[in-house]
């Protein structure tokens, strides 16, 4: 049986992880490679690296970092942040990323999804959707939730799938950082509207939240950052818990 995936997300700035971590065993808590290896050993199913480096100049260091990560870990990983062109994607894939994720650039220029799918295949194209409830409708937002769009989230999810997205990373900006649980309603709506896997993100605070998003919203994977970084939830414990709830996971 296909297992539900647990995906830690690492925010990267200038080649370093930004959010602090609570891994006292790590020599260098800011080293993304060391943290990635740690998660790999703990049983993470995939990893996502989100580059929030502000300047184009410094972003060039990302390719080197991706290469370094690919050398050291043997589970799949996705790289996102600031990807605007076929060339950007080509560099990341050549350096060993398994998938890339685009967000704002897809909203600005939806044709980019078609272009990327045609060049590299849908299997490595993740389209991230940031969503927020605006006037009781779930809508797509960009720039970390600061900019609203007129796009309805479910419509956008269908459109990106038709354009060639191979997977959707859905982050609820309503829930992100609250630790009050994932956004079950919109994740469920998106998941039943598209034929590609959906990764739920934003709001994980305890193990029960993971069980809920898998059981109630049929998410294919769940992503979280700080609860893993600060060891509020250890991945092996989470997997054991999910397994006890009859949710198939890789243990």
């Amino acid at each position: 049986m296909l297992t539900k995936r647990i995906i830690p997300c690492l925010d990267i700035k200038d080649g370093r992880t930004v959010k602090g971590t609570n891994f006292i065993e790590l020599r260098d808590a800011g080293d993304p490679v060391e943290l990635a290896m740690r998660y790999c050993e703990e049983g993470a199913d995939e990893l996502v690296f989100l580059d929030i480096t502000a300047t184009t100049e410094k972003r060039k260091t990302l390719a080197n970092l991706v290469r370094e990560i690919a050398t050291h870990i043997n589970i799949p990983f996705t790289v996102g942040g600031g990807i605007n062109t076929v060339e950007d994607v080509s560099i990341l894939l050549e350096n060993g990323a398994d998938k890339i994720s685009i967000n704002t650039s897809a909203v600005k220029k939806p044709g980019l999804i078609n272009e990327l799918a045609k060049n590299f295949g849908s299997q490595c194209i993740v389209v991230a959707i940031d969503t927020k409830k605006i006037d009781s409708n779930w809508k797509v937002v960009t720039h970390g939730g600061r900019n609203a769009t007129s796009l309805l989230t479910v419509d956008w999810a269908k459109e990106i799938t038709q354009r060639g997205a191979g997977e959707i990373l859905l982050t609820s900006m309503e829930n992100d950082g609250t630790k009050a649980g994932f956004a079950i309603d919109i994740t469920k709506d998106v998941s039943k509207s598209v034929a590609v896997p959906v990764i739920a993100s934003g709001g994980a605070g305890n193990m029960k939240h993971f069980a809920e998003i898998f059981q109630q919203a049929n998410a294919d994977a769940a992503l979280a950052a700080s609860i893993f970084h600060f060891k509020e939830i250890a991945i092996p414990d989470l997997k054991r818990y999910l397994s006890s709830q009859q949710i198939p996971v890789r243990v």
Partner: protein, 206 residues
């Protein structure tokens, strides 16, 4: 003498993750688009992601078809196909409606599911390989071990005797196959952590 492993570079995706996996086990493969490197090799790993038809076209353009056929069918040296690389071993594929190498008796079809809400395409993530038949490739690999899958097409074997493992995604499909010196896996051992590394090591030691 050290085994010479060649990974033919025919322009179909992430060859370097396989290369890196082998480097971690101190095998330094040759990644090359030069057909002569195939002739010189003791073993070949044929990875690949992407479109079947495009892959066959690239192999023709790079003049790799004949050397690979000779390597596999005449010299009977070991080859491991991964993901698309496994599918290319089939007689033909629906993806582009073209012929493959024909080393494995069967064809490649798009994954069909009845419950599209539960079973998303591509089949993405970790799933179990249920062992049907012993093989040196599966040495020390427990039954129902999990491997990482990412594919929208899968191989349908005409001869059950070729099937080493099966995986269930609504229906059963062959996830590892073998016939004499020819091995193929639908999953990505290079992305399947320790179990995947063990499988690659088995192929290298074979």
């Amino acid at each position: 003498m050290k085994t010479r492993v060649c990974i033919p570079d025919f322009g179909m995706g992430n060859l370097h993750s396989v290369e890196r996996s082998l480097c971690r086990m101190n095998v330094n493969p040759v990644v090359s688009a030069d057909p002569r490197e195939i002739e010189k090799a003791d073993k070949i790993i044929l990875p690949g992601v992407g479109h079947f038809k495009k892959a066959m076209e690239n192999l023709v353009t790079l003049q790799m078809i004949d050397v690979l056929n000779e390597f596999v069918l005449v010299n009977k040296k070991p080859i491991l196909g991964i993901c698309l690389g496994m599918q290319l071993m089939a007689d033909r594929s629906d993806e582009g409606d073209v012929a493959g190498f024909g080393w494995m008796d069967g064809s490649v079809k798009k994954i069909k599911v009845n419950d599209g809400l539960k079973y998303k395409i591509p089949h993405t993530g970790w799933n179990q390989a249920m062992i049907c038949k012993d093989s040196p490739l599966l040495k020390n690999i427990p039954d129902r071990s999990e491997f990482y899958f990412l594919h929208a097409y899968h191989f349908i074997a005409n001869d059950r005797a070729d099937v080493l493992t099966e995986t269930i995604y609504e229906t059963r499909f062959p996830s590892a196959v073998a016939r004499e010196n020819i091995f193929g896996v639908q999953f990505h051992p290079e992305k399947s952590h320790a179990t995947g590394a063990a499988l690659l090591q088995n192929f290298i030691s074979y």
